[in-house]
Each structure stands twice: as structure tokens, then as C-alpha cells.
């Protein structure tokens, strides 16, 4: 069974996000004033081969925790997953 996962990795809330801040700061000069709280993270898509959905999800969680994110500074969440061919 093959499943497609979408994972978001973003800096922990406590940490200042330099990219988000820079975008935020430049918006007004471009005429976008009503925007606040910009945060930028990584969006990672991948396909997993596994017996069951649980197995696939466990594998992705493990990978996200140990490799795709750095727990010292980042959190991750699995946005969505669906079966694919």
C-alpha cells in the first residue's frame, strides 16, 4: 500500500523566525498592511510503501522526529495523508 504524506516543519513558537519577520517587515512597503504574524516553515511531501496505514504513519513520525525536524528548534505536524497508486 502506498500513502502520500504532507508534513510541516516549523520553528518552535518561542524562537524568532527570521524569514517570517523579513516578509512581515517588507509587506507594508508593498502596500499590504493588513497582514500580521507571518511564520515560514518547510512543507515536505513524500510517498511511503507500507503494509498498513498505521505502519506508514509510525515510520513517517519516526523520520520526522529524528531527521526531518530538529527537536531543539523545530516542531512538526503531519498535515494530511492519503492513499495513492
Amino acid at each position: 500500500m502506498r500513502r502520500r504524506f504532507e508534513i510541516v516543519v516549523s520553528l518552535k513558537d518561542g524562537l524568532l523566525d527570521p524569514e517570517g519577520k523579513t516578509i512581515q517587515d517588507s509587506l507594508p512597503t508593498m502596500g499590504w498592511t493588513a497582514i500580521s504574524n507571518v511564520r515560514v516553515g518547510k512543507h515536505i511531501e513524500l510517498t511511503v510503501d507500507a503494509e498498513t496505514e498505521d505502519e506508514a504513519t509510525t515510520l513517517v513520525r519516526d523520520m520526522a522526529e529524528r531527521f526531518l525536524s530538529n527537536p531543539v528548534i523545530e516542531d512538526f505536524r503531519i498535515l494530511k495523508t492519503e492513499e495513492v497508486r
Binding site: I23, D25, S26, T29, M30
Partner: protein
């Protein structure tokens, strides 16, 4: 609407199509047509420029490889060949500045690699529209970040370049990149598919639908609204993979495993195979099924013309194949044997067993069309020549004019740009960004190579002949101001639409001017690049000649820097004439780009270079800084700011002060000399027949132009360093 015949869709004229038919004695199939369209495009065939480029001097005792190869090479001593070439990537950069510029770096680096040299330095001459427009800030930010990301990641230092600004570059930025490489002179290799039965090995990235027809669409047609269609033709660079490619190729070259090496650039596999075969008067049997694809559904003509980045074509003997494959394996690169060298001079491509294309290698590589396009001087020239800014009076305090010129983004510090580049990696950067020219040490020796790029678009606009000459003279002067002897030239000719007689005339004039200067200065042209169609319906760029000059410094310990130190005597070398035509002063203070550029006396220019070289060797000079944009005033200010040392000078001669200060008369330099060396210097200058004027002394925190005006080094630095950051304040903005 009825659609055009497919050859016109591909950018081929009816005449060109007929030429193909008669060459083949039959109608080309689609794959063959795509191959010809790519190879006969302006970008690959130089069909409009060839006739003119032939007049450039290319001979010289030091020249090891001249134009025609992937990059030129000169003997710089110590058994070392210096390989160098410049290339344009302006069109992709105009629509995707980051990736457009990044892939430009990747491409020129592979040119150097294909001659067998390790890339050791990059320079990036850039031209943008005025920074008060967000679109231009977006372009510059993206281009600089892209060059930085690619160059920094592959471990090649970016040590110099230029950034200039003019309204004509708003829709057409100019992005040129020069790469320098070193190789043992007896280890240079050629991009030749020699030896019947030898193997074509495609090394590096998988082949995808990148820049299909990109060459003809992106580089050979004017960018207009329809450039939206050409969008997918912009490619994504992978500097990491390029770094692996460099190291793997260097290992193969050092182990002597390569018969030949050819980069894949414009026209992809078609160009690499046909050119390497044509050079060796051989042919090629290519099996497209062996090409590793990113997308299995690619068709024959796509595989043949794909411009996927980070690929090289190695020509290898069957015996050496295992060693080559082992090196690729070790560096994590894919490699595939995609064909063999044949005797019959044909490029034959197979897919699924069938022959999908069969054409003579020469017909693609060497027998492309060649045009002597109509030429005509632009109408604007007469009026603009009559309006000579030299004689319009200065309506402000000369000190204020000084601040305006020094703070003009063309003149002001480019630190915001070059601090984004690793200029130190490889550990041989004796002088980097901020010097008159960059100086790179030949490791393990006292020898070094100096390199500078220069070009003045305004001069090219007002007089393309002088524009071409000045570009060579100024770049050589920058090199000479380090104490090095200029020895060779590469060039990038950035112009509008060659079908327009005015553009073609300017092009021919610029080449003529460049040729004249190269002959007089004994700096042969070893290569270059032509970028046409830098034009959108509303605006064409100035005729922009960008010249890269390299020079040799026998002992880098005697290298000159531009910066002042306290307690020295300041001299101006060369003569100042009332020449404000096309000057920075005229544009910034008077808002005029008019008149005629300064004259250029190549005898004087050469004498100046020889004097500075001797002065450096005999250690009579403490510093040297060329006079260019902004004239004497800016040269003195830069030397003071760089050395954090002030000066007090009297402006010599009887010209009006603002003319003496801002005239851009050529063949001049500001030097400083230790008091005890003054006599020997003056004797040397007389010997070289270079006129000189004693201006004053260095020292202290103040900048004093006798009774004209005065300021401090700190104030001047704030103007000089603050200008460009003031426009940008580190913001990324969209256009």
C-alpha cells in the same frame, strides 16, 4: 489564426529551413529539426556576430587556447595555464533572478572544467535599473543571492565584478559571470570526441524537461509579454551536485582518464555531441535509451535538446571506463555510457532501437548560417554629441557635487553585494572585492594572477567604438594598478536586437574599438560571449561591452593596493582634459547622458601600465588607484576611504575646478609615494614619458581640496558606504 510552419515556431527562417533540407538532401524529421533549431540559434551559432568577431586579435606568445574552445587559456608561468571565460545569463535572470543567475554561475564553471582546469575564482559584472524602483531591488537582491548561493556552495570564491545602474536595464538587467581556472599547462584537455570506438559517458544529473527550446526561446528572442510562455524554460540549479561534478571531473583529469571533456549547456546533448565530434572530425552513435531521465515520458527531441544543468559529457576509452565509473560512484554521481565515437562524421541518435535522427556533426556545429546584417548609425547620435556637458556651468557648490557623485550607486561601495559572496575559500585570495582588481595566488609560488572586469554602458551609447576601447583600457588599467602586467582578454557583448541596423552598427563599432585596444595593449582575446536581444518593445540596453582582463604578477609581495597610508606624497599620472561627456558627474549632477566619451590614446595607456608595473617592481610606489567613474575626485576619495587616511591636495592645471575634479579622461591613475622614493619615481615617470603632477600629501582624518572644499574621511565613508544599503535596507521586495 493559422499556425506557422513548425520550423518558424522553432525560430528558424524559411531560408534556414531550406538550407537544412539541401544539406540533408531530404526533409528533416522533428528531432532533427529541433537539433538544427537549437544549434543554429543566435545563442549557439553566433550567426549575426561571427563576421565581426573574426577581426579580434587572438594571437599571442602566451595564448595556449584561443576562441572556439569552451574557454581560453594563457600561460601564466610556473607551468600553470590560466583558463578563463565570461558568459551572459541575462534573459533567465530577468524573469527569475535567483535561479537565472545561479544557473549562470553553474554554466560558466562547467566551461572552465571542460578544459581541464579547477575553477578558482568568479567575477560578476551586473547591470540593473535604478534602485528607487522595487522591481529593480527585487532583481538585484535575487541575482546577488543566486550568484552567492551557487558560488558559495561549490567552493569557488567570488572575488570581483561590477554593479552599475541605468534606466535602460529596468526591463533588461545584464547578468554576466566570469570564471577563472588554473591547470598544469601540460594537462589541459580538449573537448574532442577522438578515437573511433571510444565511449561517450554522460556524467552528472538526470535529464529532465529543462529549457526545452530554452536556447532559442529564452536567449534568441526578445523578452516581451510572450516571455510568460517561455517560463518553464528557467531551470533550477543544484550547486551541491555541481560541486560533486567538479571534484569527480578533477579526479578523472588528474588520473588522465579522459580523452575529452565537454560541458552540456545551450542545446544540451545535441551541442555537446556534435561539437565534440566535429572538432575531431568524427561522428557519434548515441543511444537515447541509455540517458538517465527524470521523466520517463520524454520524447526523442526533448532528450536531445534538454538543457538540464550539472551534466558533463566525457569521452573515455573502453579500458578506462571502469575507473571513470568508480570515481562517479564514489562521488555519488550517476554516469551512463550513451554512445560511441564513429568514423562517418554523422550524429546518429537511436531510441527504442530505431534511428530517430541522423545528421552530419559538422552541419550542426560548424555550418550554421552566417549573416552580414545591415548596419546604420543610430539617428540619436548627432544631437546627443552636440549637447556636451563639459561646458554647462556648475550650479551648486563643488563640495555638494562631490558628495552626489561619490554617493551615486554606480560609484558607491558595492559592499552590500560582495559581502554576500565567499571571497576567501580555496585560500589564495591575495586581493578580493574592494581592490582595483582581484589577485589570486598560484599556490606554492610567489606568482599571482590579477583579474578585473569593466565596461561603461554610457560610453557605448555615446560612441560604441570608444565604448569598446575604454572597456579594454579600463579593465587593463585596473589590473595594472596592482602592479601586474595585463596579458589577455575575454569579453561579453551585451546588445539589443541584431535585426535592427542601429544595433548591428553599434555592435560592429564596439568590436572594432575593442580590437584596436587589444592590439595596442598586446592583450589578445582568448574568448567571450555575445548576448543579443537585450531589448523589449519600449527599451533597449546601452551597447554594453564588458571586458575581463587578466594580468601576471611575478611576486605578489610587491602587489600594489589602492589605499592611502599616512605620510606619503600624492601624484596624478596622465593628463586631464575637459572631458565630461558621458561622465558620472554629467548624469548625476546635470542629469545628462550626452556629449562624447573621453578620447583614448592607447600609447599613453600602455605607457601608464608599464610605468606602474616598473614602479611596483622597483618598489617606488606605495599605492595605485585608477581614475575611472567620477574622475580624480572619486579616485582620491576611494584611496582615502580604503586606507582610512585623509589627504590635502591642490588640483593642478587651469581647468575649471569641477572639470578638473570630475573629468573622466582616460589613461590616468592616482599614486602615493614615500617621500624618500619621490626622486626615483619622477625619474622613472620621465623615462616612461608619462606626465605627472604632484597633488599633495596623505595623512590625518581630513580630505582637503585646497581652497575648493573639505570634508572628513569619516563623512566621505558614510556617503560611499551608505548609498546602496540606504536604498535596500535588507528588504526583499517583489516587482
Amino acid at each position: 489564426m493559422i499556425d506557422k510552419p513548425v520550423h518558424r515556431e522553432l525560430g528558424l527562417t524559411d531560408e534556414e529551413y531550406e538550407a537544412i533540407e539541401s544539406r540533408l538532401g531530404r526533409r528533416p524529421n522533428r528531432a532533427e529539426l529541433a537539433m538544427y533549431a537549437a544549434m543554429w540559434s543566435e545563442h549557439c551559432s553566433y550567426k549575426s556576430s561571427k563576421v565581426h568577431l573574426r577581426s579580434l586579435p587572438t594571437q599571442g606568445s602566451r595564448v595556449l587556447v584561443g576562441p572556439g574552445e569552451n574557454a581560453g587559456a594563457v600561460d601564466v608561468g610556473e607551468g600553470i595555464a590560466c583558463v578563463f571565460k565570461i558568459e551572459s545569463h541575462s534573459h533567465p535572470s530577468a524573469i527569475e533572478p535567483f535561479q537565472g543567475a545561479a544557473t549562470g554561475v553553474g554554466g560558466i564553471v562547467r566551461d572552465i572544467l571542460s578544459v581541464g582546469a579547477r575553477p578558482i575564482a568568479l567575477l560578476d559584472p551586473l547591470r540593473f535599473g535604478p534602485l528607487d524602483q522595487a522591481h529593480n531591488r527585487w532583481l538585484m537582491g535575487g541575482v546577488v543571492a543566486g550568484i552567492g548561493q551557487y558560488g558559495n556552495s561549490i567552493g569557488v570564491p567570488t572575488v570581483g565584478g561590477e554593479v552599475k545602474f541605468a534606466t535602460c536595464h529596468t526591463s533588461n538587467p545584464t547578468v554576466n559571470v566570469l570564471c577563472l581556472g588554473f591547470a598544469p599547462r601540460d594537462r589541459l584537455i580538449q573537448a574532442k570526441a577522438a578515437g573511433i570506438g571510444n565511449l561517450f559517458v554522460l556524467v552528472g544529473a538526470h535529464t529532465g524537461r529543462d529549457g526545452i527550446g530554452g536556447v532559442s526561446v529564452l536567449a534568441s528572442r526578445t523578452l516581451d509579454e510572450s516571455s510568460h510562455e517561455s517560463r518553464p524554460s528557467v531551470q533550477i540549479g543544484d550547486p551541491f551536485y555541481e560541486k560533486l561534478l567538479i571534484e569527480a571531473c578533477m579526479e578523472m583529469i588528474d588520473a588522465g582518464l579522459l580523452v575529452g571533456l565537454q560541458d552540456l549547456g545551450g542545446a544540451g546533448l545535441t551541442c555537446a555531441v556534435s561539437e565534440s565530434a566535429a572538432r575531431a572530425s568524427t561522428g557519434a552513435d548515441i543511444d537515447l535509451d541509455e540517458v538517465q531521465l527524470r521523466d520517463r515520458t520524454m520524447e526523442d527531441f526533448e532528450i536531445l535538446t534538454s538543457e538540464s544543468q550539472e551534466r558533463m559529457l566525457a569521452i573515455v576509452t573502453p579500458e578506462d571506463l571502469p575507473s571513470v565509473e568508480a570515481i562517479c560512484e564514489r562521488w555519488g554521481l550517476t554516469s551512463a555510457v550513451i554512445g560511441r565515437v564513429t568514423a562517418d562524421g554523422q550524429v546518429r541518435a537511436r531510441l527504442g532501437g530505431d534511428v530517430v535522427a541522423e545528421v552530419p556533426a559538422r552541419s550542426l556545429a560548424d555550418e550554421g548560417p552566417e549573416y552580414s546584417r545591415p548596419m546604420q548609425p543610430p539617428a540619436y547620435l548627432d544631437d546627443i554629441h552636440d549637447d556636451d556637458p563639459t561646458y554647462s556651468e556648475l550650479l551648486m557648490d563643488v563640495g555638494e557635487a562631490f558628495r552626489q557623485v561619490l554617493g551615486s550607486p554606480n560609484v558607491a561601495s558595492k559592499r552590500w553585494v560582495f559581502e554576500q559572496y565567499d571571497s576567501l575559500v580555496q585560500g589564495n585570495t591575495i586581493a578580493g572585492p574592494g581592490a582595483s582588481a582581484a589577485v589570486l595566488r598560484i599556490e606554492g609560488s610567489l606568482r599571482a594572477v590579477a583579474v578585473s572586469t569593466d565596461g561603461n554602458g554610457r560610453y557605448g551609447y555615446l560612441d560604441p567604438f570608444l565604448g569598446g576601447g575604454h572597456a579594454v583600457a579600463e579593465a587593463a588599467r585596473n589590473v595594472a594598478c596592482t602592479g601586474a602586467r595585463p596579458v589577455a582578454v575575454t569579453n561579453c557583448l551585451n546588445f539589443g536586437t541584431p535585426e535592427r541596423p542601429e544595433v548591428m552598427w553599434s555592435f560592429a563599432e564596439a568590436v572594432r574599438g575593442m580590437a584596436r585596444a587589444c592590439e595596442a595593449l598586446d592583450t589578445p582575446v582568448t574568448g567571450g560571449n555575445v548576448s543579443f536581444y537585450n531589448e523589449t518593445e519600449d527599451s533597449a540596453i546601452y551597447p554594453t561591452v564588458v571586458v575581463g582582463v587578466i594580468g601576471i604578477l611575478e611576486d605578489y609581495r610587491l602587489m600594489l593596493r589602492p589605499s592611502f597610508a599616512a605620510g606619503h606624497v600624492v601624484y596624478l599620472l596622465g593628463e586631464t582634459f575637459p572631458e565630461l561627456g558621458g561622465s558620472e558627474y554629467a548624469e548625476v549632477v546635470l542629469g545628462k547622458v550626452s556629449g562624447r566619451p573621453p578620447g583614448l590614446d592607447l600609447e599613453r595607456e600602455l605607457a601608464l601600465h608599464r610605468l606602474i608595473a616598473d614602479g611596483a617592481r622597483m618598489d617606488v610606489l606605495a599605492s595605485a588607484q585608477d581614475c575611472s567613474d567620477g574622475g580624480l575626485a572619486v579616485a582620491l576619495a576611494e584611496a582615502a576611504i580604503l586606507g582610512e587616511t585623509g589627504f590635502a591636495v591642490t588640483v593642478p592645471g587651469d581647468l575649471p575646478p569641477h572639470v578638473a575634479l570630475f573629468s573622466e579622461s582616460a589613461s590616468r591613475a592616482v599614486v602615493s609615494i614615500a617621500p624618500e622614493r619621490v626622486e626615483s619615481f619622477e625619474a622613472l615617470a620621465r623615462e616612461h614619458r608619462v606626465s605627472f603632477a604632484r597633488l599633495g600629501e596623505t595623512g590625518g582624518p581630513r580630505i582637503v581640496f585646497d581652497d575648493l572644499f573639505e570634508t572628513t574621511v569619516a563623512e566621505a565613508r558614510d556617503v560611499y558606504e551608505g548609498s546602496i544599503p540606504g536604498f535596500l535596507s535588507a528588504r526583499r521586495e517583489a516587482g
